[in-house]
């Protein structure tokens, strides 16, 4: 239910941006040219992101945090057809905490250090809208498949104790980008990731949570060619 609300909120925001972007006549010809050029284009980008975890109680119990931060990178191919683009991206977040036992919603910390690492890999398709300001602000929306590589290790672990899994799911996102200098743009993006653990154990099970995704906010810098 919460996830649905987030998706609706993201979509609504981006819809508003689209509507606002529609009056192309408000733009200058130069900025429009710079924002939407013709022909295939490629861009690479770097990302700094925060993800508010859907399994917030679980992560709060283990890491004392409900948000994971990380860095990543990706690439897009533009104008495959009209304003359609495809994207491949990844990011990596790591956090340390300690293993716990949850009983009747009470968390007992056991002092055994644990490091969790999440690497979401997204393969997505999106639509880039017409710039809606003279500064060439471009809104976009997209969505696609998510492969979440997840690991969980503790000191003294044997291989069989460790968790190294890849969970499948989906991701939707939308954002705005602004040209800042020649081929360089900056952007902000909001997205939702869903990657359910099929048979949750550990603290996820204790809190009846299973989604290792969540609400992601990203700051991006891209270079296009």
């Amino acid at each position: 239910m919460a996830r649905r609300r987030v998706i609706i909120a993201v979509a609504s925001g981006l819809l508003c941006a689209m509507v606002a972007a529609t009056p192309a006549r408000a733009q200058t010809a130069a900025s429009a040219r710079s924002a939407v050029a013709s022909g295939l284009g490629v861009r690479a980008f770097g990302v700094f992101e925060w993800q508010k975890m859907a399994a917030s109680r679980t992560f709060d119990a283990v890491t004392d945090k409900t948000t994971l931060s990380g860095v990543g990178a990706g690439a897009e191919v533009h104008r495959l057809w009209r304003n359609v683009f495809v994207r491949a991206s990844f990011s990596q977040s790591k956090e340390t905490g300690q293993r716990v036992f949850v009983f009747n919603n009470e968390v007992f910390k056991l002092g055994v250090p644990v490091e969790v690492s999440a690497t979401p890999i997204e393969l997505a398709v999106g639509w880039r809208f017409t710039p809606f300001s003279s500064r060439g602000i471009v809104p976009y929306l997209g969505g696609g498949a998510l492969f979440l590589k997840y690991s969980e290790t503790s000191s003294g672990d044997e291989r069989s104790d460790q968790v190294h899994e890849t969970y499948k799911g989906f991701a939707v996102f939308g954002g705005l980008e602004v040209p800042v200098w020649r081929h360089v743009s900056a952007g902000a993006e909001l997205g939702w990731r869903s990657a359910n653990v099929p048979e949750p154990g550990g603290v996820l099970e204790a809190f009846d949570e299973k989604n290792l995704g969540g609400l992601a906010m990203r700051l991006m810098v891209s270079v296009r060619k």
Binding site: R99, F101, V112
Partner: protein, 516 residues
């Protein structure tokens, strides 16, 4: 003189004593007590200089009742009941209820052992069951039952086998200790036959086959037990002096809980950094023998004399909970329900104390429901522990039923022979074997093997101490964690043989991460 010659001599002496005992046995009650006047005189002159010696806690009347219980195979102390009055009952109303008893004891004659719960002794009426029924019918009474005699739930085994702690290997303890080395900071109360907490020699009276004599009986602290980790204990049944184990059961159980480890000596214990609080509630053969002689009663008591009175176990549980213990081990049991036990367990867990209880060794004896283990499922934070042998199969003797909550190594000679029992550093049995020894000593230690759910329970108590030390401080959470991390054995899921399965200390200590 060869060892076999010595052994033959000992056996011959034992036979002679057995014959003497047989001669005296029938007249034990009828005879006038014979008092060893010389020994009394010696003691009197010594008392003039020394501080007051400890007082024996068992009265002659109670001692007689205990020996009657042994000789008549009774599972209660004749003439004793435990009664709990309803909330709000005044002393006057208590007196009215007590009028149902033959001796009509006054309310101030009750020995209170817990909230609204008292032990009543009526030597004039040995029918404890009838007494309890009469009392239970009174409107002021919540419940009443005989003062049941619990028994140790283990079987001593040959002590000459080399030590092999397969139990610790089975539980992967070395890797568990990597996570928590020994459970420091936690006190475990072992409610049992005691753990000797002093090295001293006592001049106790005993029967030498012909007369009551004073014998020097040496006791010593287990050399494989760091004396600094023995917390102040208490003797509830023998005397008000230091806790002494003249049976060996309590020492063995304590060893499994917390024997000193990594000291190049003897054996390892589960929670070797924890403190041990020895609470003696069981009278052994030698306790009875000494008390009997001290009271001037001649002869030997039956070899099965002794036991652990319900009332003293309840009092010890309260004592442990009120004096800093965080874990209690109860390797005791009987087949009679005792609501006072259930109340005591609730009291202990309510004060943050986890309780491990042996599930019973009566599978081959009709597999009756055993107590207090059967209260385990009703009390969050108290667990009934069944036993497995070295192959992780249910030990042949281990009682089964819906009350079995968890399993741990208890040993099984049918599964590995002598190497299949649980070994600890214990009191050398050949020094006090009541069947052959006249003047026992309790100061020499060696490898001692036992099997029983008595041996399984302290594994769980030790694990609970490790978990408490690791940060799981609520008894109900300790129970849930032990069950959640157990290795499922037998039928899938919980079953009546193993409960949730075999404890996995390392998994329990590791707890859980996000997904596993």
């Amino acid at each position: 003189m060869t060892a076999s010659t010595i052994r033959l001599s000992v056996v011959a002496c034992a036979c002679a004593l057995a014959a003497l005992f047989a001669l005296h046995d029938g007249s034990l009650v009828a005879q006038e007590p014979v008092v060893d006047q010389g020994a009394v005189a010696d003691q009197t002159s010594a008392e003039a200089q020394a501080p007051a010696p400890p007082q024996f806690l068992t009265t002659p009347a109670r001692l007689l009742a205990l020996t009657q219980a042994a000789s008549q195979q009774l599972n209660y102390i004749p003439g004793e009941v435990i009664v709990k009055f309803r909330q709000g009952v005044t002393p006057g109303q208590q007196t009215r209820a007590l009028a149902a008893l033959r001796s009509i004891p006054a309310a101030d004659q009750l020995q209170w052992i817990a909230d609204r719960t008292a032990r009543i002794s009526d030597p004039a009426d040995p029918d404890s069951i009838g007494m309890a029924q009469n009392l239970a019918r009174q409107p002021e009474v919540e419940y009443a039952h005989p003062n049941w005699l619990l028994h140790k739930q283990s079987v001593p085994n040959d002590t000459s086998y080399a030590a092999r702690q397969w139990n610790m290997t089975l539980l992967d303890m070395p890797r568990a200790w990597d996570i928590n080395p020994g459970g420091a900071g936690v006190t475990v109360a072992v409610i049992d036959t005691g753990l000797t907490s002093i090295t001293a020699t006592y001049p106790f009276k005993t029967w030498d086959g012909t007369a009551i004599v004073t014998a020097q009986m040496p006791f010593a602290i287990n050399p494989d037990f760091d004396a600094a980790r023995i917390a102040a204990g208490r003797d509830f049944v023998f005397w008000n002096g230091p806790v002494l184990d003249s049976d060996g059961h309590g020492t063995h159980v304590s060893g499994t809980v917390a024997q000193t480890t990594n000291n190049s000596l003897g054996y390892a214990g589960m929670a070797y950094g924890a403190k041990l609080m020895p609470l003696k509630v069981c009278l052994s053969f030698w306790d009875i023998q000494i008390l009997q002689a001290e009271f001037g009663i001649t002869g030997y008591p039956p070899l099965n004399a002794g036991g652990c009175p319900d009332s003293d176990v309840v009092a010890a549980i309260h004592y442990a909970a009120d004096n800093g213990a965080k874990v209690i081990n109860l390797s005791l049991g009987g087949t009679d329900p005792s609501p006072s036990f259930r109340d005591a367990l609730n009291y202990a867990t309510g004060r943050g104390v986890f309780v491990a209880m042996s599930a019973g060794n009566e599978f081959d004896d009709g597999n009756p429901t055993t107590y207090p283990a059967s209260y385990g499922p009703q009390v969050a934070g108290a667990m009934a522990v069944g036993a497995v042998g070295r192959s992780s199969n249910r030990a042949a003797y281990s009682s089964t039923g819906t009350f079995v909550e968890i399993a741990a190594p208890g040993g099984d000679v049918a599964d590995g022979g002598g190497n299949g029992v649980v070994w600890q550093m214990g009191i050398s049995y050949v020094d006090y074997d009541p069947a052959v020894i006249i003047f026992p000593r309790f100061d020499r230690y060696g490898s001692v093997g036992y099997q029983g759910t008595s041996m399984a329970s302290p594994h769980v108590a030790g694990l609970a101490a490790l978990l408490m030390s690791q940060g799981v401080t609520k008894p109900a959470a300790v129970e849930a964690l032990i069950a959640a991390t157990a290795r499922d054995l037998g039928a899938k899921g919980r079953d009546n043989d193993f409960g949730a399965g075999l404890i996995q200390p390392r998994a329990a200590l590791r707890g859980f991460g996000v997904v596993r």
